[in-house]
Structure formats: structure tokens, C-alpha cells
């Protein structure tokens, strides 16, 4: 990370999110090690680029308030994901309450247009993003954590705060919906 700030030399075993850090990490440690993760998660949960700074700020404000209660029984990243997903959901609900229509230029996942490269070929990445945008946040969270972040299903269940079986169920449905959405797009070419 390119940062102008010099931090103290701190133990960063918590960076791995393995729950091995005995002491509660400081906010500075969490920020230093997890800020890119938080940004990535928010983006993958559909927060538009233009809102990322504000959403990430909200996440760390919550972390600041709740850090004392973090007991390291769950991995730091699972805990952070729980916060980030709630922030993303809250922002989505607020936008919905204001009847805001996601702008395609800000949220590439929101566009109904046929995602294609300049040469007319379907852009597989855009197709997948479009498919993810059709998922509700609960299913999208499970899909992102398992397929993209490499969480185990037990960690996923902890992060989204649901029973393991429910997490599996959401993953299965999310996969079906993603496949179906991509299939529809490909057939409509």
C-alpha cells in the first residue's frame, strides 16, 4: 500500500485472519492490514465505485466502535465481512428508499445492456458481474466469500451469521442463478 504514514512496527499475524492474535488488534492495525480487503469486499458486494470511500469509512467507524468486543473467536476477516456486508446492505436500502437508480457508469453490475467487448464478443467478466448483480445480498455474499475469497464454508457461515446448512443452500442457489443468468445472456446474443 502506498501510504504517507509511518506506522509502528506491529505484529501482523492478524493479517491472515486466522484468529491467532491473542490481543485485540488496534484500529490502526486493522486498517493497515485490512483496508484493501474491505474495499475489495465492498466492491464485490456491489457498492458503486463512487460510493466506495464513504462505505469504507462507515465500515471503519463501526470497527472503531466494536473493536473492543472482537474476541478473535472468528477470523478477523469474517468479522470484518459481517460489518462490510451490513454497511453495503444499509446503503443499498437507503438508495432504494430514495428511489435511486443505480447508474450503469458507476455500477457496471447494474447495466442491462449486453456486455460485450469492442469487437462484439461477449465479455465473460462483464457477464459474471451482471449475473452477480442479480443476486440478493445474502446469496451474493456467500458466493463471493466462497468462490472469490476462498473462505471455507464454515467461515462463510460465520461471516454471514447463518447456519452452515443455510450457507450451503445459498451457495447452491447463487450458483444456479449465476449460471442461469449467464446462459440467458449468451442465448440472447
Amino acid at each position: 500500500m502506498a501510504s504517507s504514514t509511518q506506522y509502528d512496527d506491529v505484529s501482523l499475524s492478524l493479517a491472515l485472519g486466522d484468529g491467532a492474535c491473542a490481543a485485540t488488534p488496534t484500529l490502526r492495525e486493522v486498517f493497515r492490514t485490512q483496508a484493501p480487503f474491505v474495499l475489495r469486499i465492498l466492491r464485490r458486494l456491489g457498492v458503486p465505485e463512487a460510493d466506495l470511500d464513504d462505505a469504507a469509512q462507515d465500515v471503519f467507524l463501526v470497527v472503531h466502535r466494536k473493536l473492543e468486543g472482537y474476541d478473535a473467536r472468528s477470523s478477523l476477516r469474517s468479522w470484518l465481512f459481517g460489518i462490510a456486508s451490513r454497511v453495503a446492505l444499509a446503503r443499498r436500502r437507503r438508495a432504494s428508499a430514495r428511489n435511486e437508480v443505480p447508474r450503469a457508469d458507476l455500477d457496471p453490475l447494474a447495466s442491462d445492456e449486453q456486455p460485450a467487448n469492442g469487437d462484439g464478443r461477449i465479455d465473460a467478466r462483464a457477464l459474471l458481474l451482471h449475473a452477480l448483480a442479480q443476486l440478493d445480498l445474502e446469496k451474493r455474499a456467500v458466493f463471493v466469500l466462497y468462490e472469490l475469497e476462498g473462505f471455507t464454508m464454515a467461515e462463510v457461515a460465520t461471516a454471514v451469521d447463518c447456519p452452515l446448512q443455510t450457507a450451503y443452500s445459498r451457495l447452491r442457489v447463487a450458483r444456479e442463478l449465476v449460471r442461469s443468468s449467464i446462459g440467458r445472456k449468451e442465448r440472447s446474443r
Binding site: 500500500m1 506506522y7 474495499l39 459474471l128
Partner: protein, 261 residues
């Protein structure tokens, strides 16, 4: 459990999954995230009061809203936004924030005379200088008000000879706002709880007040005085994000961080 051993456990990216090569390629492409280094640095500047680092000037955001973007600094922008009414109200408050105006008035005596007249014209009888500041502030603290006071001549010259009634009403409202803030400010030192109540009342009554920056500054002072420094730090973060060019930002930052040194 049975489902743990099912095919569901095979990630789409792994060999043996039933995902098509195209789907796998698409998933792989999602790993190519943009470089967030600049964004992290920007976020760090915002969160500086909480992170316990020396706040850096907030970097310009991609939308160009950051302080200093486009070569226009926040102070100059604030000066342009000042109306005669707001200026008068500001000066009422400035009487309360004595240390902020102190250095300016000493250096700009003619302007300060105009300032007094302008304030009297608005009507608040409590335009007399208030007791000393909540905390000793250095000359450099005068950055924010320097903008307002030194812009006085320009603002007065630009004002029409006879202000429309609507403007007069607006000025009256702002004077009322200023009095409320003044009352709150006077309680910051000895009764921060009461000050916070008054400031909250002001926020409810005037949620979009032009004096929001002043209100925020006094609120932060009161929170610190009440020992609620963590809350003040969080509030400062939001203030930095919502008003990156506020002339009160530097003083507010000192108010929150000052006690930690």
C-alpha cells in the same frame, strides 16, 4: 454432515468442478482488482483522527471534491460563499471564539471596526466580545476566521444598496441561529453536556444551516470537554468527509487531537 462431502464443496475455480472454462476465466478475471493504493491513502486521511496518525491533507477524490482540487483552496471557496447575513452571524460567533479573531483584529483594525458595525446592524446585543476561548489557540489557529474577516470589504461592496425583504428575514434567522450557537459555545467549558443539548437543538432546527461548520466545531469541543473523545474522533472523521474544505476543519482537528499530545 453429508453436504460437506458433496460436490458443492468443489469451488468453481478448482479442477474437477463442473464450471465451464469460460466461467472459470470470468471468475479469474474478477481477481484483477484495481490498484486501491490512492483510495486507501485517501481513506487513511479521513480516518486520521481515529487511527492516531498525524492527519494529512485529504487527497483529491476522483470526483475532484477534495480540498485544493482545481487550484481553489477551501478558504477562498468559503469566502465566496459568504453572504452578508452569514458574515454577520459568523462575526457574532467570532466574538465567542475570541482567540480565532484575536490575531486578525489586531492586524486589521479598520476591518474590525466595520465588523463591529456590521454585527450591531444585525441586532444581537451580545455582540460584545465573549470570554476567552475554550482552549488557547495559537496565531496559526486564525486561519479560518482570517478568511471571513478579511473578505468583509468584498462582501459589503457586493451587497445591494437595499436588501430585499427575503434577505432581511434570512439575516434575522441567521442571527437567531448565531445566538443559539453563541449560547452553546458559552457552555462548552463548564457545562459541555448542556452545550451539546443546545447544539443538538440547533441541528434539529437548522439541519441545513449555513453555520453547520461552526456548530460542528463547538460540538467537537464540547465532546472533548465532556471526555467523549472517541465519539469526537468519529464525528471529526465524518466532518472531514462531508466538509473537506471547511475553514473550521483545522481548528476542529486540533480540538480533538490536542489533548492526546
Amino acid at each position: 454432515m453429508s453436504f460437506q462431502a458433496s460436490d458443492d464443496d468443489t469451488r468453481w475455480m478448482e479442477g474437477g468442478s463442473d464450471a465451464s472454462p469460460e466461467l472459470q476465466a470470468a471468475l479469474r478475471s474478477l481477481w484483477d482488482e484495481p490498484d486501491d493504493g490512492a483510495r486507501v491513502a485517501r481513506l487513511e486521511a479521513r480516518l486520521a483522527p481515529l487511527l492516531g496518525v498525524v492527519p494529512q491533507p485529504e487527497l483529491p477524490s476522483e470526483s475532484g471534491l477534495g480540498a485544493g482540487a482545481g487550484g481553489t483552496n477551501g478558504a477562498a471557496r468559503s469566502a465566496r460563499l459568504l453572504t452578508a447575513g452569514k458574515l454577520a452571524a459568523f462575526l457574532v460567533l467570532a466574538g465567542g471564539v475570541a482567540a480565532i479573531t484575536h490575531a486578525v483584529i489586531r492586524r486589521t483594525a479598520p476591518e474590525s471596526a466595520n465588523v463591529t458595525r456590521a454585527v450591531e446592524g444585525v441586532g444581537p446585543s451580545n455582540a460584545k466580545p465573549m470570554p476567552g476561548p475554550a482552549e488557547p489557540l495559537s496565531e496559526t489557529t486564525a486561519l479560518a476566521p482570517t478568511v471571513a474577516v478579511s473578505s468583509l470589504a468584498t462582501v459589503q461592496a457586493a451587497a445591494p444598496p437595499s436588501a430585499p425583504r427575503r434577505e432581511a428575514d434570512s439575516t434575522s434567522s441567521i442571527a437567531e441561529e448565531a445566538r443559539l450557537l453563541q449560547e452553546a459555545r458559552a457552555k462548552v467549558q463548564d457545562s459541555p453536556g448542556q452545550a451539546l443539548s443546545l447544539l443538538a437543538a440547533h441541528e434539529r432546527r437548522y439541519p441545513r444551516s449555513m453555520l453547520g461548520g461552526e456548530r460542528e466545531f463547538f460540538t467537537l469541543q464540547a465532546l472533548v470537554r465532556a471526555g467523549r473523545r472517541a465519539e469526537a474522533a468519529e464525528r471529526l472523521v465524518r466532518f472531514r468527509a462531508s466538509s473537506p474544505s471547511s475553514p473550521y476543519l483545522a481548528a476542529a482537528t486540533r480540538a480533538v487531537n490536542g489533548g492526546e499530545r
